[in-house]
């Protein structure tokens, strides 16, 4: 099966994506949501909290698995997708759109360069 990997964002090996233009949003890839299966719970940081690149910032749970979420870049959380609290299935239905998780104000705009490009990420999951 081939999964959508939009080329307008950057990726972590652990399947999180981030946009590179404002607003900087973070979520998980189509591949990741398929691996998890039906997402039933998402735990996210509060607005104002800081997250650090490579560190966990939350948890996503499907019926069968609990997975940590890793931050692609460091920054301060400016928005949280509260729709996911009542409708976690949005992560399955629209992982790059309505299934986004948090928005951040990045500490360092150059940090995106360290992440996988869409092509590099696609290679990893194929």
């Amino acid at each position: 099966m081939s999964f959508d990997v939009p080329s307008d964002r950057r990726y972590l090996e652990s399947h999180e994506w981030t946009t590179t233009d404002d607003p900087i949003r973070i979520g998980i890839s189509a591949f990741a949501q398929d691996e998890l299966g039906d997402v039933v719970f998402v735990e996210l940081p509060d607005v104002g909290e800081s997250i650090a690149a490579g560190e966990t910032f939350g948890v996503v749970e499907s019926i069968k698995a609990v997975s940590d979420l890793y931050a692609p870049i460091s920054g301060e959380v400016t928005a949280v997708n509260e729709d996911l609290f009542n409708a976690p299935e949005l992560v399955n239905e629209d992982p790059y759109g309505e299934g986004w998780m948090i928005e951040i104000d990045p500490d360092d705009d150059a940090a995106f360069e360290d992440l996988l490009s869409a092509d590099e990420y696609r290679e990893q999951i194929e």
Binding site: G37, D38, V40, F41, E43, E61, I63, K64, V66, F85
Partner: protein, 383 residues
């Protein structure tokens, strides 16, 4: 050790199943997604390959006596064609496994179904005890040569009836008949592990593709949905909700006392159970509903104020109720329905309430009452 595969493995693979290791078998965990499969069984019908379950046949003049000696329920009460849920205990009264015992409708013999990975162990156990009792029985492990498929859901009986030579609608709960489905000779039992009406069908494993193919318009379901379905129904999972090594529990602690016939002369574990019954068990199985956000999982700790009460053995986000539910063991002094407790989820205590373990009734407004709470005999085999 390599994983065993059911005869239908390639059929499942072709259907796009994801697989998991369960009890030494590589079995389908899901096909279309756990929620979809779960909903099919609650709303219409689904089909499960449960060929990983053990099957042991016991025959001979002393078969009833041996069965009664090694299981807790009253085997001698079974009429031909009857089935019965039961426990297999060790001398300490601890559950080694649970099982469904089928008395064949047309021969003086029994088939019992231990959980996945327990077939050889139970065959050995039966043979050893039979020898020490000097009993005249033959014990045969049929796990490899019998296929087992469960067809479950409100439309299950109608679905099977469309292909069966004899009417399944006339077969009572926990009864069996021999009939043919398509061209395959089967033992059809009105039992299951989902909380829904339905059947479990035993047949020659060589005919697996034919039997399964008869129902190719029915949603195939994996072990993922099997687990959420049984948990919503408050049914226990061997190896998780009780286990002689990791979760040693007696039937009294597990609220399975209804399958223990204390009036039997003797059975393995009887004395230990009698001693525990005098003082009462220190911990009891309860149903738990989380009132806050989170998903309870096996091993999560339970508290009441600052007092450690016990732990979760099974938990999930209920697909039917969209509520976080769990089974767990707590201090018997704090086990009554309505008790406010907390589940520790990743270091945080989430408020929770002890509720009836048949969650579809206790949380779903299906009209259940506390007097009927606890497992009952409406469901049979489990993983």
């Amino acid at each position: 050790m390599s994983l065993r595969t059911p005869p239908l493995h390639q059929v499942h693979r072709d259907a796009g199943a994801e697989f998991t290791d369960f009890g030494g078998w590589e079995m389908p965990v899901s096909y279309a997604g756990i929620s979809t499969e779960h909903a099919a069984v609650r709303e219409s019908v689904g089909i499960f390959d449960v060929s990983h379950m053990g099957e042991v046949e016991v025959r001979g003049p002393d078969a009833t006596a041996v069965m009664d000696h090694l299981t807790t329920n009253a085997v001698a009460d079974l009429e031909p064609g009857d089935a019965q849920y039961s426990c297999i205990l060790n001398d300490d009264g601890v559950i080694i496994d649970d099982t469904v015992i089928y008395r064949y409708p047309d021969e003086d013999a029994y088939l019992f179904v231990p959980n996945a990975g327990h077939g050889t162990q139970m065959t050995d156990r039966w043979s050893t005890h039979a020898a020490s009792l000097d009993a005249d029985v033959t014990v045969e492990n049929r796990t490899e040569d019998l296929g087992l498929v469960a067809i479950q859901g409100p439309d299950a009986i109608e679905t099977v009836d469309a292909h069966a030579q004899d009417s399944i609608a006339d077969v009572g709960r926990f009864s069996t008949i021999r009939t043919t489905i398509g061209d395959v000779e089967c033992l059809v039992a009105r039992t299951g592990y989902t909380g829904e009406d339905g059947v479990e069908v035993f047949f020659d494993a060589d005919r697996s593709r034919e039997l399964w193919g008869t129902f190719d318009d029915v949603q195939p379901c994996g072990l993922g949905a099997r687990d959420t379905l049984r948990l919503e129904a408050g049914l226990l999972l061997s190896g998780q909700d009780f286990d002689p090594e990791t979760e040693p529990r007696t039937p009294l602690e597990a609220k399975l006392g209804f399958v223990v016939d204390e009036s039997k002369d003797d059975f393995v574990g009887k004395d230990a159970l009698a001693r525990q019954a005098e003082t009462g068990p220190e911990e009891l199985l309860v149903g738990i509903h989380l009132n806050g956000r989170g998903v309870p999982r096996n091993g999560y700790e339970l508290y009441r104020d600052d007092e450690h009460l016990g732990h979760v053995t099974s938990g999930t986000m209920s697909p039917t109720l969209s509520e976080p539910i769990a089974l767990g063991y707590v201090d018997a002094d704090h086990a009554s329905t309505g008790t406010e407790i907390a589940v520790e989820v990743r270091g945080r205590r989430i408020p929770a309430t002890i509720v009836g373990q048949r969650f579809l009734d206790s949380l779903g407004g299906n009209g259940g009452d506390e007097a009927s709470d606890g497992n009952d005999a409406t469901d049979g085999t489990d993983d």
